[in-house]
Each structure stands twice: as C-alpha cells, then as structure tokens.
Symmetry: D2
Subunit: 334 residues, 4 copies
Amino acid sequence: MTRVHVWGASGYGASEAIAFLAAHPLVELGLLESASLGGEPAGLHFPRLRTLDRSFDFPGAILSAIEADDVVIMGGAHGSAKEFAPKFLEAGARVIDLSDDFRLAPTRAVYGLPERYKAQIAGARFVANPGCYPTATLLAVLPLAQGDNEIAQIIVDAKSGITGAGRTPSVRALYAEVAGDVHAYGLEGHRHEAEIAQELRAAGIDAPLVFTPHVVPLARGMLADAYVMMRSAPDASAVRAAYARFYAGNSFVRLLDEGVSPSVAAVAYTNDAEIAVSVHGNVVRSICAIDNLGKGAATQAVMNMNLMLGFPEECGLDKLGRPSTGAPYGARSG
Amino acid sequence: MTRVHVWGASGYGASEAIAFLAAHPLVELGLLESASLGGEPAGLHFPRLRTLDRSFDFPGAILSAIEADDVVIMGGAHGSAKEFAPKFLEAGARVIDLSDDFRLAPTRAVYGLPERYKAQIAGARFVANPGCYPTATLLAVLPLAQGDNEIAQIIVDAKSGITGAGRTPSVRALYAEVAGDVHAYGLEGHRHEAEIAQELRAAGIDAPLVFTPHVVPLARGMLADAYVMMRSAPDASAVRAAYARFYAGNSFVRLLDEGVSPSVAAVAYTNDAEIAVSVHGNVVRSICAIDNLGKGAATQAVMNMNLMLGFPEECGLDKLGRPSTGAPYGARSG
Amino acid sequence: MTRVHVWGASGYGASEAIAFLAAHPLVELGLLESASLGGEPAGLHFPRLRTLDRSFDFPGAILSAIEADDVVIMGGAHGSAKEFAPKFLEAGARVIDLSDDFRLAPTRAVYGLPERYKAQIAGARFVANPGCYPTATLLAVLPLAQGDNEIAQIIVDAKSGITGAGRTPSVRALYAEVAGDVHAYGLEGHRHEAEIAQELRAAGIDAPLVFTPHVVPLARGMLADAYVMMRSAPDASAVRAAYARFYAGNSFVRLLDEGVSPSVAAVAYTNDAEIAVSVHGNVVRSICAIDNLGKGAATQAVMNMNLMLGFPEECGLDKLGRPSTGAPYGARSG
Amino acid sequence: MTRVHVWGASGYGASEAIAFLAAHPLVELGLLESASLGGEPAGLHFPRLRTLDRSFDFPGAILSAIEADDVVIMGGAHGSAKEFAPKFLEAGARVIDLSDDFRLAPTRAVYGLPERYKAQIAGARFVANPGCYPTATLLAVLPLAQGDNEIAQIIVDAKSGITGAGRTPSVRALYAEVAGDVHAYGLEGHRHEAEIAQELRAAGIDAPLVFTPHVVPLARGMLADAYVMMRSAPDASAVRAAYARFYAGNSFVRLLDEGVSPSVAAVAYTNDAEIAVSVHGNVVRSICAIDNLGKGAATQAVMNMNLMLGFPEECGLDKLGRPSTGAPYGARSG
C-alpha cells in the first residue's frame, strides 16, 4: 500500500485529512509531522482522532524517512510549503499542498480542482489543492463559461465556518467572538480573489468580480452565493442544462431540483458539493455549499490523491462522515 | 404617563418590545394580551422578562380596557392584525403593528421607517412597522436614490437569525436544524420582496431586485449585503457623501469608516444599524447590520411610538441592552 | 441480506439509524415508514440523508410487507410501540424498539445495553434499546457494582443535546431557546429515573439517586457526571481496575487516562463512549460521554441488531461518522 | 463625579465593566489602560463598545494621571495586579481587582461578595472581586451554613461559558473547539477550589468538596449545581426558609419557586443570580445561575464600587443589558 505522510499535521485541514486517510482502504498512514505538537498524542488535541493510536512526529521526520512514490499531504500555514514541497518532490514523492503557495502563476503546481482538471491531476506528481473559497466559487460559476451569454459582472457573497481561519489561536477565531456574530471581512480585498480570478480567466471568464467573504457561527461549512449578471437575459433551461453537462459524471456534485436550497449541514464531513442554479432576469444565481474542511480542503486532497494514484476517485470518501446510498463498500471502491 | 398595551404579546418581537417598554421612563406598561399564554407568568416563558412581575392577559383584555390615547403595539402573527387594529383605532388608541398586514398598498398605514418617514410618523395614529428584511435592505439602499447614476440591478443577500421565523414551533426553527447549517430559503420568492420593491419605487428606484434570504445560526441579528449595479461607475466619495447626507441627524445609524465591517453583535439588543458602503467598479456594495428583533422589530416600534407621542426619539432606547456613550440617562432623554 | 425496516422513521434517532443502516455491509435497508412524512423524500428533511435516494413510506407499509426474519427498528414517540411491536414480532420479525415502552418491568423486552446483557441480546428477538440518559449513567456507574465498598448515595448531573427532546416541534427545542442557555429541567422528577433505578438494582446497587438532567447548546451529545458516595474511601487503583475489568473486550468504551476528560465531540456520530473515573475521598467521580443519537440511540440499536443477527458487533459502526484506526473496512467486519 | 479607571481594560471582564461604567449615572469613565491595545479604538475590538467613542490608553496612563479618591477597576491577567494595586492604593485610589491576586490569605483584600460581606465592602478601599466559579458556588451553598444539619460532603458540578478563559488567544477557546463539545476540565484540581474552600470555612462549612468545572458552548453564563450531602435528611421547608432568610434584602438574587429552573439566559448581561433549592433525602440540591461576566465579574465589581462609594447598590445596574420592572430610572437609583 502507498504510504501517505501528512506534513503540518496539526491544523484543521490536515487533521481532517488524517481522519480520512486512516480509514482509506488503499493507503497506509505514514508520518504525521507537526512543528508545534511533535510527540503529542493526536487524539488529545483532535477529538476526531481519539481512536487513532498515533502521536505527532517531530519536524524533519518525513524528510528523513521519505521514499520514492510516497505521498505527502502538506497542511502547514500559507508560505511554509515553499521550502519543503520541492524537497519532497526531489525525493520522488507525490505532493498535494493545501496551502496557496503553489496555486498562482508563475510557480504553479497542477491546480487540484477535479471537476475542472481531472486529466491533468491524474498524471501529476505535484498538486496545489484549491482554497475553500475558490472551490465553492468556481464550482458555482465555471459551468457558465460554456454559455453564449456575455457575463457583465460577477458578485460572490460567501459565508464560511471559522476553521477557515486555521487553528493558530487568534482573537477573531475565539468562540466568544464568533458566536452571536455575522460579519463580512477583508472589505478591501481578500487573498483568494487572485486565485478565483486566475481560474475564471483560464476558463474564459473575464468579468469584474466583487467577492465578499463572511464569517458565520459555524465550525465547518461554506456557502457561496454567486450572482452572475449577464448582458442579456439567459434562458433558464439552457443554464440548467449547462450545469448538468458540466457536472455529468462528477460523483460528488449534486445539482439540486428547483426550489431546493444547498445546505451546509448536508455536505458536512463529506467531499460533496450541492449547487442550486436559477435565473432572475439578467442574473444567474448559483449557490454552492461545501464543507470548507472537506471538499474545500481535506477530502478534495484525498480525491486528488486517488486520481494521482490511479485509484477510484471515491475511494475512502464515500463511507466517511456521512453514509451514502447503501451499496456495500467493497462493491463501490473496487 | 401614556399606557402602552401589547397585543400578541408572546412572540419574540413582542416580548422584546415589552422589555423596552417596561424600562421606558415616559410610558406605563399596560396589558400584555396573548392568545396562547393568557394567565402564564411572562418570566416563565421569556427569560428576558424574568424580573418583570407580570402575567400575560387573556384574549379580549385590551379591547375591554382600552382608552383613548392609549398605545397598542401589535405583535401577533401575520394576518391577525387585520381584524383588531381597526377596533383599537376606533377606540381612540394609537396603533403600531409589527405584522405585514398594513404595510402594502392599498391598505397601508404610515410605513414606520423613521429614517425615511419621520415627519409622517410624527403625526400618525397608525403605523405599520417595517419587516426586518425590508428595514435592513432599505437602510442599505435608499441613500442611492439621491444619486445621479442609474441603477441597473439590485442584488440583496441577507442573513437572518432564526427568531425571524417566530416562536410558533416549527421543525425548521429547531435548534438541531439551525445549528451547524447555513442555507438560503424562499428561492422561488419571499413575501418581503413586495414590501422592499414598494418602498424602493416610492423612493424612485425601479431596478430589478434579486433578494436571497438565508438562515444563519443566530438567535437574533441580521446582515443585508446589497450589491447595487450602476450603469456606469459611480464616484466613491460621492456615494459616501450621499450616505452621510441621508443619515445626518439619525441617531441610530452608524456609517462605518472604510474597511470596518458592520457587525451583528455590535447592534444586538439595540435600535442601532451599522452600514458600510464602498464602490467596486460599477457596483456599490452596501452592508447593513441590525438586530432583527431590535431595529427590525421591537425597538423600531418603540422609536415610532416616541415619534407618535412627541417624545425624544431615543427615549427608552439608549440605555437598554447596550450602554451608549456615558451621558447620564436623564440628561439625554429629558 | 437481512432486510431492516425503520418504523417511525422521521425522528432524529431513526434518521440516524437509517444513515448507518444504509451503509451497513450486511443488511439491506427496507421500508422507512413515517406517519408524518410518508411520501416525502428523506433527503429533503434530513440533510444527513441527502445522498439516500429514498422517500418515506406511508403508515402500514411495513406491516403489509414484513416477512419472517426481517428486522424492524422502531423509532416512534414514546407510547407508540406498544401497539405495533407485538404485530411485528408476531409476523416473525426481530424488533429493536428505541422508545421506553418495553424497558420497564413487567412488560420488558431484553434490555439492550450490550456492555451488560450481551449474551441475552445475542439470543433475543425483541430488544428494548436503552434511553440515552440511562445509557450514559449506567456505563458510568455499573462497574462499581462489583466493588466491596458500600454505596451511600448516587448523584448524576447529566448534560444533553436537544435532539433528546425529539423532532416534534416544541418551543423549548427552538434554536432561540436553546442557544445561549443552560438549565436543568425535570426538577421534580424525570421519566428516565425509573429506568436507571431498575438497572442499578438489577446490578445490586440500591442507593438513593439524585438525577439532574440539563439542556446544553448542543444538537447532539451527552455528558453524565456520576458522583458516587461510598461509606468509606475506596482505593483509587482498585476502582480503576474494576472499570478496566468491566469494559475488557468492549470495543466501543474507552477508559481514559488520568487527567483526560471525556469529550462529547470525540464521540459524536459514533457508537463510542468515553469514561474517566477518579476517586476523591469517599466520592468516586465517573464521567461518561456519548452521542445521545449514537450510543444513546441509533448506533446502539445497530450494535444490538448485529448481536441479534450474529454479525460482528462492530459491523457497520466502525467506519461511519468517524474513522477508526485505519484497518481496511473489509478486514474488520468480516 | 467620581472618576473610574479601568486597568487591563481589554479583557472580557474589563470591557463588560466599561460598558456598565459608561452608562453609570454617578461616575465618570476615566482612563482605559491596556497593555496590548493601547491606542486602539475600543469599539473596533469590542462590538459592545461600538458606541463608546474612546480608544484604549497606553501602559502607565493611569498611574500618571491618578488622583486621590479615583477608583481603579483592575481587569488584567491573574498575577498582574500584584505589582500595580499597591501603587494605585498608595496614590489614594480605591481599587477593585478582578483577578485572584488578592483573594486568598495572607494577602487578602476585602472579599467582594456583597451577599456575604456587604458591611466590610462598604468601608473598604481595596476589594478583591470573587471569581465566577466561587461566586456561583458560594451563592448556592452559603445559606446552608446557618442550618443545624451537619454537612458530610459537597459536590459542585459547574458549567461555564468560555469567556471565563479570557481573551488571550488559546486553542481551547477557539470557536471550533468549543462549539459541539461539552467536557470537564481541571480533573486533577482547579485553582478556584482554594478560594471556594476558604470562604466555605470562613462560614463554618468544613466538609470535603469535589468541584468539577465544565466548558459548555456559551460565550457567557455559568450554572453551578451544588449537591450538599447532609448526615441526616434535612427538612425541605426549613432549608428553603434558610435560603429566603439569607437572601432577604438582596436585590440581585432570585430564589425561584419550586420546579422552576435557574436559567443562564435569564441572567445574561445582568448582576442577577437565580437559585433553586430542593431536598432529596439527605441531599440538598442548590442550583445557581449567573452571568460569569456579570455577577461573576464586571457587574459584581460595579456593585462593589457602589457600596464603597456609598451609592445605592443597584445604581447603574438595573437598567443595563436587561430591563427591570418599569420604574423610571431616576426613581430607583437616586
């Protein structure tokens, strides 16, 4: 079995990845390197890992033990992968980086949004896992790239659980600051805008974007409401058809029936995304719900890993957190 | 002292009004009529009213005791004021109705948004208190009516605490349904849209509106993000000046400095509204935070009452829930 | 594969059971009968069941389709199993009842607490699934029955998530009532006391019990702090040894190291229980955390079903909600 | 008007005190000294202080401006008052210290629990404000000191909102750690036990104490369930009478009717305490609810200040956060 190490293992996204990797039938959990919690039992710090009888490994552990064709999932703070990802690659490992260090040109790895770049990911040894805001936004908007209507303006109003801010303690992420409040932030610009814009442009969408992220009282979850203003009123059924076409064969994206709302609770602990699209005059409203720690981070990384290793894309993802539709595990994942 | 009755007294908005009325220095709390909780101690059902030594009164109590120049604040379910408001008016009372029964033409009372209709409210005997969504939306958008730029499209993405759904038990308002979830609702239309549209038109704004309400895990609070698309790029300082002009002399609306975000927590338990406005190309983004039970219901009703009775508009509102800037109470309200 | 029907399928406990049954490798999900939601898509009402392509069945569906050796998990309101459980049994089915209709003498089924009655459950056709409060309390206290010290008094201070109150709408279970509050209830007696007392007595513990349930702002989860006052000071290591002995071979109960606290979050979505026991003079403090919907209801029912059907007890339970320690699924469940 | 400075002004307790002081009719808000936020607008960091047009002052500000008969409320971290309280006292100021630096013998200030030491506080220039856990526990237990029954054992199971952990960022206080979890902590001993024990002994209660603090998903609020085991069964009405006697004339403590539960929500933002006492065989159960930031910190400090300055004890406390029973403000406090 392929050995998968987790570097920067004590963040929210990384610990979520560990939970899924530990239960993945086709990989073996390797080292769990943490700069801050080396030597500490994982279960003491992450309730979700209580049943995992493992301690975090100390800095340097992965680099000294790594072998060719291991996988490293990198979960450290933004900026920290810059130095180590090249070393892991040089050692012959495959790397999936959860940070934004390698998402933007000119230092890009393959952009790990499977609904868009499945073929490229399949052949890649180095994947930059998308941010949670870009994931939700791109899933909501990309199908419109295929349409004939010209986009005049894109407005994205996104609501995020606070784990998006990471596990390094900060006043803004304290319970007493988050509970009872809802507010926008980054009013003067958010670092994810460049990532969103890059990928929209790559898909041929070059309209101006107003992106407003909000913190809502959720530990996990993200809802992105995209309002795409067209130069003329699009046909509703054509728009719906474009979305259906775009997501045909994508097992984790659910297009909801008219009138049904995407629910953050419905995708919690999963790699699923729910999308509802509707047309209101010149405006296409496309709402996307994901788990910022799941499809927005850890499970998307596992899916990318599956693609990179040639496993079925659902492997290790369909039975965790949320049950799916009842077929025995073995029947589905091969 | 003027006697103020509360009809439909056992809802969330009404109980909030009772709390403020009980502490109001210039009125006397009258009857608290409730169809469902007549005879029950108010403090047993509303923790916030624990120190109020009062029981709810039985149906019919107000009508049999009402005197000319009493005030009745009506907090019953939508539809229920239709029958009783005329009776209270006929008895010579002043009426402020929290429901939407008299907000829309042709059966309108004076629309009780003081920032827009202060003069009309001052002379009124019958005021329809605005809904919480219309209050937040109109406060965010109305100042743009004065501008020269033509509005092409209005998009409002609103987030509400669940008390907006009322206190009549429903599955959707259960703790286990609201906690951990964020979702839009009313995707095919929301009853508040007509109210918003009516008031925008009255102000000369006739652009198409896409309105998306969301439930967020809050007991109280509302954030409305209005994205107003202009036909050409407006001047940011002109826009800010228009907002400053519109709210000059309005003691409960705070225009925030650039980069500061309106916060639902900052307005909780108050009649305050916070607004941040900025310009992004052709789009004016105006974000407004209110307490849906305060400025969106109960405290707006108290403010309307103050205006109707000729009291200082802040009376009973500046010292409750949240302290204001330190001047002794008497110095301000008397 | 054995077919498992769920009766009273639209409650919180039942829907949780459905989620686990749908992913259980050795059973087939049968009918999902609901008196209130017959005909409705399950995923519309339960986000956790969004990926389950099933609608609730109408009243009577199970009785008309039931076959010998089917299993029925009954999740209806307390009182409702009285009539139907005998009919299902008569049809030759096995029944696991989540209500308290058959927990108390003289109309008892086998009491489905596997840590206590595993052998009896294994041979049973009719199991009364324990209540969540009794489950947490008994797990915390029962190991003391083996000791030599005489128990003078038992005090249990329990904290429960609100799903314990069920999904039938009530004011007390509304989000706005539960968020921001903690309070005891049932100060004059709680229906679960008789169940706890019966099972303590059956184990030879006959001391007076003070039981205080609380509602805390949780959707799911339960913590029971048991303070057991002995007539003389017990030996701490002997007490810990008694707990270790009692839970030897029980795969779902974790005795925590000294100083480590049971965490509701650590057992959420699982059949796990965490217990910390310590001695303070004459007092043994034993704290037990479970998921009231998991070990306190649905997953305990699935475990009972596994025992009744001769499956490995962990089957369908070790990979759902929370990953366990990494062994491939197939290797564990047979 | 007396000038009141706040030292260590940027913690949760101190900011709460500022809110009440700013609205207090008989004092003037002085300097707001903060080591970490000097120069920063208070309203940017504390939504509750948004309407307060003040910035935090820099370290040293109070000491250089202090005058005789000023009051200093000290809200810094535990340990930090040791150095500065003597300097403020030497300058002739009155000091109320929220930390535990001066609560324990031999370096005690007057212990600021008004229900116990009102006379001593009235004459004091230096008061140590009690901790939140000791406040709730002592209010629950102290009335039993007057009884004839001998106490064999005291068990206190306390539930606290997370603001008790302070505003200095820590992983354990992050939203994602607190939401969805309930757990005990300090299983091997909590620093407040010595404070509780000291005050129980001072009242003549010398029984062993088992004290178990828990974190619950609340920003503010505390519930202490005290289970006091007597050597023989006490008379219920005698116990209730003892509580009534103990709290006679104490305007902020509400003894609840039988069957009514103390509610954290009912005392939020106030100086109120709710107590329910009942007898169960040999056990007296006494449950006390307070706001850990109110009666457990800031409002208790304001009450102590009122007593030290000879003001009516309710002054500045009866109209904030929660309205009381409707008498005009001036009529009550002046």
